[in-house]
Every structure is written in structure tokens, then in C-alpha cells.
Symmetry: C2
Subunit: 239 residues, 2 copies
């Protein structure tokens, strides 16, 4: 990036798009908004919006996340938000040149969005019922899904899908839901507990989850951020 005439640069619009995932009822859900304006009006799309003039992409993404989920900025402060990649195909928006920085967010099961911001409507949609989306958002969603699946393998990110206190069964369901596979319960338990700092036991007594079976002990997310060695998907598929 050297040698340029600032008055002669080609102008672009820069936006952020968000793939916000949650696990509810054993299914992976993604937050979608119904478009109220012209390009692709009435179709569903990932939430997002323009960068403000003095705003970094991360800030814009966090602002949009708060607007679209209807949560306070304090609540969204602690949510996991991560840059995915940037989409810059010249034809991705029919009206103008728009470069979009995509982000992935992982949230615990939240109340239905209140449709804030400038979106006509917003709702949680099962990931496999999301397509087709407006613009290139099918592609962004696929990339985001693949990314979170891969990150579950070598990070402690799965706890971001869980409430503050959770059972190992709930944590295992996160893996099973995102990966779409069944995991061996005893082996999963052993692996998680053998990783220092992944989860930490809660002093209080156990609670029942589905009102069936033995009550499970509660855990909270530990200080660790990565898994060594990783917890690989069964039949680890190539990227």
C-alpha cells in the first residue's frame, strides 16, 4: 500500500455482515433479517450495515449485533465476535460497489429478537432452512458454519453457546449440533475434564436438565482459550 493520490482513489462502500449462531432445541440456528428495501426486498439476509465514518469494522459489527438481537450493549460486550473474511466480488451488490467484512458471532440461546434497527423483521432460523438468502449470503453462511465447526476442534469456543452455568451434556450437544454427529458421552466427558481450564465445576448442587434422568453437575467456562490436544471431529473431514 504505497504511492497513491488520495483524491484519485476509487470509492467503495464498506459494510459488515454478521452470521450470528445459537443452539436451541438441538438445532443450530442463525439470526436472519427480512430486507425492507429495494435490493432483494422481502428476502431474508444476514444482519449487517454500513461502517460509520470513524468506526472500525469490529465496532460496527458489535453495534449491529446489539441492534439486531435487541440486547443492551452491556450484554453484547462479552459475546464472542470474530472476523470471518471479506467479500469483495464486484457484482455482489447489484447497485454499487460494496465490500463487506463478515463476522461470526456465537451466542447462548436468546429470546426472540425484537426486530430493532432498520430491519423489517428478524428471527432465529434453523441453519439448514436458511437458504436461499439475499446477495452472496449463502456463501458467507456456509463459510461461517465451516469456520465455527473447525474452531470447536481446537478452541474452547463451545462454551460461548452455553449459558453461564451448563452441564456437560449441554456442552456435548453444542458439538453434536454444530458438527451434525453423535459423540460418545463418556469419552467426551473424559476429554473435556482432562483439558485444564476448559470448564470448572460449580460449587452449588446439580440441576436437572430435561426432567429425565440423573441430574447433572454444573460447570462454568474456564480460563483456557485453546485445546491441546484438539478435540477432532470424527472422521475429520478435510477443509
Amino acid at each position: 500500500m504505497q504511492g497513491y493520490d488520495p483524491s484519485a482513489f476509487p470509492p467503495f462502500a464498506v459494510t459488515v455482515d454478521l452470521a450470528v449462531f445459537t443452539v436451541r432445541a438441538m438445532r443450530l440456528h442463525v439470526l436472519l433479517v427480512e430486507r425492507g428495501q429495494d435490493p432483494h426486498q422481502g428476502r431474508w439476509a444476514l444482519p449487517g450495515g454500513f461502517l460509520l465514518p470513524h468506526e472500525a469494522a469490529e465496532q460496527a459489527a458489535r453495534r449491529e449485533l446489539a441492534e439486531e438481537t435487541g440486547l443492551s450493549c452491556d450484554t453484547t460486550e462479552g459475546l464472542h465476535l470474530e472476523q470471518l473474511r471479506t467479500y469483495s466480488d464486484p457484482d455482489r451488490d447489484p447497485r454499487m460497489r460494496v465490500v463487506s467484512v463478515a463476522f461470526t458471532a456465537l451466542v447462548p440461546d436468546l429470546p426472540e429478537p425484537r426486530g430493532g434497527g432498520d430491519a423489517a423483521r428478524a428471527r432465529w432460523t434453523p441453519r439448514d432452512e436458511a437458504s436461499p438468502l439475499a446477495f452472496d449470503h449463502d456463501r458467507i453462511l456456509a463459510d461461517a458454519h465451516e469456520r465455527i465447526g473447525a474452531k470447536l476442534e481446537y478452541t474452547c469456543l463451545a462454551t460461548a453457546f452455553c449459558p453461564a452455568a451448563f452441564t456437560l451434556g449441554e456442552l456435548r450437544q453444542v458439538y453434536e449440533t454444530v458438527w451434525g454427529v453423535a459423540l460418545d458421552r463418556p469419552n467426551f466427558r473424559r476429554k473435556v475434564l482432562a483439558t485444564p481450564g476448559f470448564v470448572e465445576p460449580v460449587a452449588g448442587g446439580p440441576r436437572r436438565t430435561g426432567a429425565r434422568g440423573k441430574p447433572a453437575a454444573l460447570y462454568t467456562a474456564g480460563p483456557a482459550r485453546s485445546l491441546h490436544p484438539p478435540l477432532l471431529r470424527p472422521e475429520g473431514r478435510p477443509r
Copy 2:
């Protein structure tokens, strides 16, 4: 990304920045250019430049790669190029609002760059002698280095640093150079050969490498793109 007035969007300049790595003489090198113009004139920086009006970021990155390395477009066609992330801090360029999409490229040992394009000079610099760079390029370089180190673990990317035919000793040196650690030779060999499609033997006879020791057999990159199970760094450090 919904609901906007195309005439009212805040304008941004969009650039690409490249972290081009190679391994030469057992050290990791990165391609740098000396800035010829005003912001940070005379300082070293990562190569890069503006997106053309109808160009995707990937195209712009490949074009800049060809210009800066002085290679033909045919040659750069097959080189590994991968989007790293986007840097959008409002103050990252002192003159205007510039959003930069950073890419990482891995190339075999190439001839000294001819300083093409609009860069005053270009040269290969040992990675640990690169700082300080202009703008936020120290940060970009650090992110890129961490990324390629991580990708060596679970992809077959190391062959991108090697010429068409290479010895297992040369491949091992790639890992040792990028990771900055020494690896056990027999175990490395066993691991690589046990991964189907990572490398494939060359029919022709062996060749000598450093004119010392037993001549090594030659291999070419195989069709595999990922490593299962991964080849983890010793004392795998957390991200």
C-alpha cells in the same frame, strides 16, 4: 446489509496488503518494499495497493504479487494466496480512511525482486529483521506469521515453500524455519510418509542437497490438502 441510500454511504478507500513469505538459507523471509511516497516515505512496508474499480480483492492481491515479485502472471497463477483478515482501524492511515484486506502468500525461494510496480525498492528480508514497518504492517506481519504457522499443522501447505521436486529434509526445514523449532528427523519422515497424498516419490534417482551426507530421495507435492491427524507443533502453544 439492508436498507441504504446509495448516494449517502460514507466513502472508503480499499487496498490489499501482502505478506509474502519464503524460506531461504534456513530463515523465514518476507517480501518488503521501500515506500516512495509521502506517508512513511523511505520506510519499509508490505507490498500492496488499491483495488481497481471492477476488481475483487483476490484479483488485486494476485496482480500486486506478480508486480512486486517480478514474476509473470503465469508463474504466480499457481502460487498459494490466501486471505488473512481485514484491517479497518480509522487511524491506520494518517491521510484518509483506508480499509485494507490482507493476504498471505507462500512461495518457493525466488530470485531477488526487480522492484517493479510503483515501489521504490523491493527485497527479501529475514522475518525477524522486518520490524518496524510502516502503518500497522507489524501487526499484519505478526498475524500472517502466526497464521501460516498454524496452517502448517493441519494442511499440506508446507510444500508451497518448496520447489517442484524436494527432499524430505527440505520439507522438514520449512517446518523448522517457520516454527522456529527443531524436529526429530526420523519421526518427521514417518509422519509425512504415513499421510496419504501429502508427498509422492519421484521416479528419478536421488540428488545431493548440501553436498554433504547421503543423497536424499526426491518427492513432489501430492493431491492431499489437509493432514489427518495434524502435525502439531511441539509444546503446541495456545492461540
